[in-house]
Amino acid sequence: MAGFKRKEGREMVEMNTSSLPDLIFTILFFFMMVTTMREVTLKVKFVVPQGTELTKLEKKSAVSFIYVGPPTDQLRAQMGSGTRIQLNDRYAEPREVMDFVAAERKGMVNEGDQVISIKADQHTHMGYITDIKEVLRKSWALKINYSASRRN
């Protein structure tokens, strides 16, 4: 009978791994491209409201964020628990939104595309939002977006 006797002395062929770095580099470049580093540290905490008629924010470079909510737990001891508005890295008053909008607009290729995304805590009182909206209107930043998460 024909045996299945293993031939002696046959060495296992090693896999050629010389293309492995290239492969990994490809994945790396993909992640480098899609990644967006969060450029601000959040000083307010917020849970955005939920909605159904949401649209995706496109053109990330044209979007500026305004955060509204109570200070984070670490900062609550100094800052209290009242609602705060955060622009870039610090707390601000509603009237400072105008300078913020102008500064953000400066770096933009197409100023008409500017979108202001309001990330506000769902329990914020409307007074703050109304104030911000009033200033945004005055500074001609008319495209706004109420940040929200999808319901169900």
Partner: protein
């Protein structure tokens, strides 16, 4: 006698994979794939300081008031009824109001309009939905109202697209989409107090 030229040893590249793996892992950790979602709105142009406050005369049949009090309760008023309502009936209320299918005299007036791509239509484009809030209205209540009103418009546009073109709104050509969006069912959500029309009704 010249030494025989030594063969250049190849660079050991076995660690390149490890290095790139490390970079990869760094980017994997820092990357945030979450796409930002939100409800897009457009604010009205700022008031012109040179202009005397423009009289916006709107017949009362064309206005639907939506008010939110400081408790976040919803109050809706049009010519037919007024009172506190639940959030989940707002969408239907708004749809009925905007559409005014039976041309009821207490809901927005209809008039004939020639629209490109759509032809002669009866539209209610003079309607206004006025949203008013108090300073201490919770934001989520306001957001819910905005969401429901936008949903009402979207549903109406979709219904119209199905009725007229037998297709979902989003699959229509851009020209037709814009005609429906801007001419047939334009959004008129006002957040300022509109002046009441005091003349003939």
């Amino acid at each position: 006698m010249a030494k025989k030229k030594k063969k250049m040893p190849g660079l050991n590249t076995s660690s390149t994979a490890d290095i790139s793996f490390m970079l990869l892992i760094f980017f994997l950790v820092t990357t945030s794939m979450d796409t930002d979602m939100g409800l897009s709105r457009r604010l009205p142009n700022p008031p012109d300081p040179n202009q005397e406050d423009a009289q916006v005369d709107i017949k009362s049949r064309n206005i639907m008031y939506v008010r939110l009090n400081s408790e976040g309760q919803l109050w809706v008023k049009d010519e037919i009824s007024s009172g506190y309502v639940d959030f989940n009936v707002l969408r239907q209320r708004a749809k009925d109001f905007i559409k005014n299918e039976q041309n009821i005299s207490k809901w927005p007036e209809k008039h004939v309009k020639n629209i490109d791509h759509l032809g002669r239509c009866l539209v209610t484009d003079k309607h206004v939905i006025s949203v008013q809030t108090a300073r201490d209205t919770p934001y989520f209540a306001y957001f819910q109202v905005q969401n429901e009103l936008v949903a009402a418009y979207n549903e109406l546009r979709n219904e119209y697209a199905k009725e007229k073109f037998h297709r979902e709104f989003e699959y229509l050509d851009d020209d037709i989409k814009n005609a429906i969006k801007l001419e047939y069912y334009p959004q008129h959500i006002s957040e300022a107090e509109p002046k009441k029309y005091k003349g003939v009704e």
